[in-house]
Amino acid sequence: MVKNILMIGWEYPPFNSGGLGVACQGLADSISATGVNIVFCLPQKIDNTKKKKGIFFDFLDCTICQKKNKDFLHTYSYSTDSSKKGLNKHHKTGGTLVELVKLYANQVLENTKNYNFDIIHAHDWLTVPAALALREKSKKPLVLHIHATEFDRAGGMYSLNSEIANIEREGLIYADKVIAVSHYTKEKIINLYGISPQKIEVVHNGIISDDGGFFLDCNEGFFKNKKVVLFVGRLTIQKGVDWFLKAAKEVIKANKDTVFLIVGDGDYKGKAIELANDLGISDKIVFTGFLRDNELKKAYGLANVFVLPSVSEPFGITALEAVKSGLPVILSNNSGAREIIKGSIGVDFWNTKDMAEKITAVLSYPKLRDKLIEDSKKDLGFATWGRAANEIIKIYNNLTNG
């Protein structure tokens, strides 16, 4: 039986820019709840981390970025302009992301000398250099958990960053086991990197279940008597917000009382606002910026339907949050979440007319709305972190038993 795990991460709530941090917390909490000890390495100090029994945080200090700088994570982890992402020096920290990732590797190697662990569990390409160095030195098996591939982040083959893709590839090749967050992602790993299907296990994400509800009743001011269509995600090419806006135009044409709530931040934001303007629908679009906790719950509470229009979405935790808030959901066919939320309507992100029709149908047909809510709630039963933890512990034990 595996007792001690060394996890290598990059972000962690409340200091996260998106789903990676949320997933790491869900996994660490639920794995430690089974009695396994975790040392969790992160590149910088994060205050206010929820302390859980069995998890010890080792905050390393990447010397290039000396300040506890919120911007550091946001800008570095996810840049839309992927082709330049690894190459440009960051104006605040003075290093490129790839340099930083390599520096992090040295720090991890240096700081984990005194830890005793059976398995290394690393999350995404950002931790690959660290994980490979540690594997080499410690001779312990490495589990590489893929929450997103470079293909997903870049929104396609043509804009992907080859330096990052190479790091990702190296990690996938040398890892002893790969965990993918969906079958969709597993297929990507097989097809893009030629990794053997036998080496990859699919473990779907969960949703934090100790938190009573995700919904705050809220129907006030501007939103009163309006149908609200909700988007939650980083504003990047990957998340398909441009397609969403084009669909919005069609919906609004047929129903003037519909408004679109766009929650999230990112470097596509300026362009998104511009696009809404060009489409002549800016009076029906509300950009809230990045929201968390009660603010986010209010957004879910305001909405009548949730749409995940992603170009490529390895999982899509926001879809689970929406279901938990009692919303009917329309999900990109290119998403992992659709594999577990069968009570959802699928849509091709590029087919904006179809997306508009489906949004309009969910808003117009109450029986359809009720049925989607009823069916998707049932699917949520599968989406627990406890289930994910059990599947992962099985993988750990298989690795150490030979």
């Binding site: 069609e250 047929a254 069968k342 309507i345 699928g346 007319k353 508009a356 029709e357 489906k358 309009t360 149908a361 117009s364 047909y365 029986k367 359809l368 009720d370 049925k371 989607l372 069916d375």
Partner: protein, 399 residues
């Protein structure tokens, strides 16, 4: 010895075209709800893979056995219409099969609808339409009835009798047989003159669903194995009043089970071996004729069908979405008839074809796989949206 009654059911719906929610009420005078191109393409494929080769095989078997091989066949009215429009050659071929005298045509509702559950008036009218179609096209008057999806319950017995039928084909479900064998003839509750032929679902489904399933422990199935199962199904080694009812979709041959699975060879060998062993083939009407005297009654209170493990209507009107569209559709009856617009009336009836409701079924597990196979939509929700859009458009036209 004993008998085998082989009965096949042929049907293709008029599939709906994609109808946008933004199109509702836009085209008042004329809007076609059906996708002629897809329907034609689909029909041609099934004609080529299943309908024609199976007719050829049947005619060949009838000739080889001097008419000892016999069977029952039902063809939905909407399928006959599609043959007439798209490929009248198939009608000629079917005629030549009927003319052998070894193939009995079975009556049903013209539109392959569940009207019997929603409107007696529609039910009677559609039975009559189908009857007239059979007479006109095949010069044949049906004496045996099968309702859409083998839907049957006590309530329907007097209506079916009144429409001129002597017997009904139904599902030999455990819940109505309650331990009795499906291989005997039964009669309707309080109506001994209406005979019920119960499908032997185990043996029927061995061919229809399991034949090419390589995970099945009996795979591969061959004719002698299947014949031995038929014999062991019979009581006291068989008697002349026992008939094993093998009922299934016509499309089992060549479409659900492809030619490459060996289904045609299986059918041929099975028929010839059975006859050589003294087993007789009878048409449904002949089975009824032989059992005119008093038979045991089956008390069927709740609607019984041949679908899924439940054997009820849940595959078509099981969830709230299906109930919504079904009641909405049949709720339009008075308005539609009052419009006296034959185009609208026909469209409304084509929308009654049970397949449209089947596509909206949300049973995921077990039977879900079978559902998926037959479903042209990505999800039941998509099917519901498209159907609702059309229904709303139809309502718009009526107002």
């Amino acid at each position: 010895m004993a008998n085998i009654c082989l009965y096949l059911h042929a049907h293709q719906p008029f599939r709906l075209r994609k109808f946008s929610i933004f199109e509702i009420g836009k085209n008042i005078t004329h809007a076609n709800y059906f996708d002629d191109e897809i329907n034609n393409r689909h029909l041609e494929r099934v004609i080529f893979k299943s309908y024609v080769p199976t007719i050829d095989l049947f005619k060949d078997l009838i000739k080889k056995t001097n008419g000892e091989f016999r069977l029952g066949l039902s063809i939905s009215g909407v399928l006959i219409e599609q043959f007439e429009k798209q490929n009248p050659e198939v009608i000629k071929l079917l005629k030549s099969l009927i003319d052998t005298g070894a193939c009995e045509l079975i009556g049903e509702t013209h539109y392959h609808s569940l009207a019997s559950y929603f409107s007696e008036k529609e039910f009677r009218l559609q039975i009559d339409m189908h009857k007239r179609k059979l007479r006109k096209v095949f010069n044949s008057i049906p004496k045996t009835f099968r309702n859409t999806e083998l839907l049957y319950y006590n309530h329907l017995a007097p209506i079916i009798l009144d429409m001129g039928y002597k017997g009904v084909l139904i599902e030999g479900a455990d819940k109505v047989l309650m331990g009795r064998s499906p291989d005997f003839v039964y009669s309707a509750k309080n109506h001994n003159e209406l005979k019920l032929l119960t499908k032997n679902y185990r043996l029927s489904d061995d061919i229809a669903f399991r034949f090419s399933d390589s995970h099945w422990e009996e795979y591969p199935l061959n004719a002698s194995k299947f014949l031995s199962w038929i014999k062991s199904s019979l009581q006291n080694n068989g008697s002349d009043d026992q008939t094993v009812n093998i009922f299934m979709d016509y499309e089992t041959f060549g479409e659900h089970q492809w030619k490459e699975t060996g289904i045609f060879d299986f059918l041929k060998t099975f028929v010839l071996e059975a006859i050589s062993q003294g087993i007789k083939f009878l048409t449904p009407g002949e089975v009824i004729q032989k059992n005119k005297l008093k038979t045991e009654e089956l008390d069927i209170v709740e609607p019984l069908t041949w679908a899924d493990t439940e054997r009820d209507l849940s595959a078509w009107i099981g969830n709230d979405l299906q109930k919504d569209i079904a009641y909405r559709l049949y709720g339009l009856e008075k308005k539609v008839i009052a419009s006296k617009n034959t185009y609208i009336i026909n469209q409304w009836r084509q929308l009654q074809t049970s397949d449209h409701f089947y596509y909206v079924c949300t049973k995921w597990s077990n039977d879900g796989d079978v559902h998926k196979y037959f479903n042209p939509y990505n999800s039941p929700y998509d099917a519901y949206i498209n159907y609702m859009n059309i229904l709303r458009d139809l309502e718009f036209k009526l107002n």
